[in-house]
Symmetry: C2
Subunit: 318 residues, 2 copies
């Protein structure tokens, strides 16, 4: 018995086929990547001491032994300032000076510094009035799209609102017009009522395993307030850092050293229309355990065999 | 200098950023999978001799030593007949009895048998009047979504027209209404005029590397006639088999033993509206060399650093 369901925030169509998680898999090539051992590598452009291999530094936080986080221009930008059609800036934010650092082993303090850097670069890029959206994301390991192993995040300012964000905003706007209530508030209330999919809840944030999502095992962190990402104060960044630190320790227990993506979805900027009433900043945390196959590519239908309640239970923390 | 371009048949938005193909990659984890050596494995449910491990057989072509291609019910179907909302049948089509067989080393004859099986199962599934679309696709290797190594294809009948096919049909329909000409005819004419992206051309089929596509290195095979997939005659299936055999030998030279997907996009069935005037059957052949990262997941924008002309030149055959 299969159900056809829509992800309420994206409208993605997902076939619930829970038995498929039991299908046999050839063992070959199913291993996780090897964990990085060395704290420093001579040939890594992002390691502390190898600064000459990167472009201009735009931000850093220093510790006793040198920088701890650091952002630089991307040498191979997706967008640049040379085109009329699409332009913006693309920076690489080095998560930690440690080559073997990663979200699974970073301390609360390291997460806090990282988030401070996210905010600093966001605020800087937002000063350009032609910028309509700023995308912060992270790829960890090759299968999640990372070309270099040293842990890093990316920030890209864009002269357009990207289609996926526009899609989410349109959906939440239509919901608001119809129900006179924010879709995100409705989701937060429903998840708190149901409880089984909640990983963590406090006054500012709710962390859940959504029942319906195209990426198996996706986790979503919702802002409860109407704050934009760049409006987070020092204490809120600290709290967010603590949550990420706890969450990724749990994710490591469940999935091991697994590739993942982080996508921050916040509000467009420098636009006439405001979306504070209906839209909420949120973060998609996407383990890349499974690859989409020809069915998904061919149909734009997705298949979910995840038990969200069970996964949330395993990931839950205080 | 970046350009923002739309894939004409899907409307996907692609940023052309050709310099990015030069960015450094850590060597680790970038290797291809190991090629399979054994022609038979005792523990493989799809090998000849292990038929007791599969569900009911629905089709086979026999050679002197036993079956050469064979289709069976999928033990872990994405859809089944138990739901009102979405239903259909899901069969696995075993490409060849050889465990070490694959599109890179299959003979013209093996491709012909495989396509005969595709057509047979399609025609069978199309007899159910509630079926609206039949999707044929193939996943090769884990990174392309395959759970078992033994080469196999899949066919799924659906009670709905999947969103991706509906999207392509709507685009070609709008183009036809506006221009009184098929978008696919226009693309075929343009590619033949430009020539540099053409891999192979004959009276029935055109094979090209599209300039704009979200998947780097994608190849498209267009039907020149208005034929639906299931209308292909024996001689046309043979010719298609010959083209695939030649193409995959070339792909092996260029990409090595690389994961890929095949997606056949043909016409919906049992619907009132006909799309023969504007839509054309076509096949997406998608090497899975690169993984989408947080940028693509977060924005639904894609980045192309492929030189289509150069790739087409390398893949060209007679």
């Amino acid at each position: 018995m299969k159900e056809l369901r829509r992800d309420p925030i994206t409208n993605d169509i997902v076939v619930l086929a829970k038995n498929r998680s039991k299908r046999p898999m050839d063992k070959v090539n199913n291993q996780n990547d090897k964990e990085v051992i060395e704290e420093y590598r001579k040939d890594c452009p992002f390691c502390r001491g190898n600064e000459k291999h990167t472009e201009k530094c735009t931000f850093e936080i220093k510790g006793e032994d040198g920088w701890i986080v650091r952002s630089v221009y991307n040498k191979f930008p997706i967008v640049d300032s040379l085109s009329e059609e699409i332009f913006g800036h693309h920076e690489v934010m080095i998560d930690t000076n440690r080559h073997n650092g990663n979200f699974y082993n970073m301390s609360e303090e390291e997460f806090f510094y990282l988030l401070k850097m996210y905010k600093d670069r966001y605020v800087f890029m937002a000063k350009n009035e032609q910028v309509k959206y700023i995308s912060i994301f992270k790829n960890f390991l090759r299968r999640a799209g990372a070309s270099l192993i040293h842990p890093h995040s990316q920030i890209i300012s864009l002269s357009i609102v990207p289609p996926e964000v526009e899609n989410e905003i349109n959906i939440s706007k239509r919901y608001y017009e119809k129900n006179n209530k924010s879709l995100y508030e409705y989701i937060i209330e429903s998840e708190l009522k149901y409880q089984e999919r909640v990983i963590y809840d406090n006054k500012d944030y709710l962390l859940v395993v959504p029942e319906i999502a195209k990426y198996g095992g996706e986790i979503r962190l919702f802002f409860k307030s109407k704050k934009r990402f760049e409006e987070l104060k020092e204490a809120e960044l600290k709290e967010l850092g603590r949550i990420l630190e706890r969450l990724f320790k749990k994710m490591y227990e469940v999935h091991g050293y697994n590739p993942f993506n982080i996508c921050i979805h916040t509000h467009p900027i420098n636009t006439d229309e405001k979306h504070e009433e209906h839209f909420r900043t949120h973060i998609h945390i996407i383990p890349r355990k499974y690859s989409f196959g020809g069915f998904e590519l061919s149909t734009d239908l997705y298949v979910s065999s995840i038990n969200a309640d069970e996964l949330a239970k395993k990931l839950r923390f205080d």
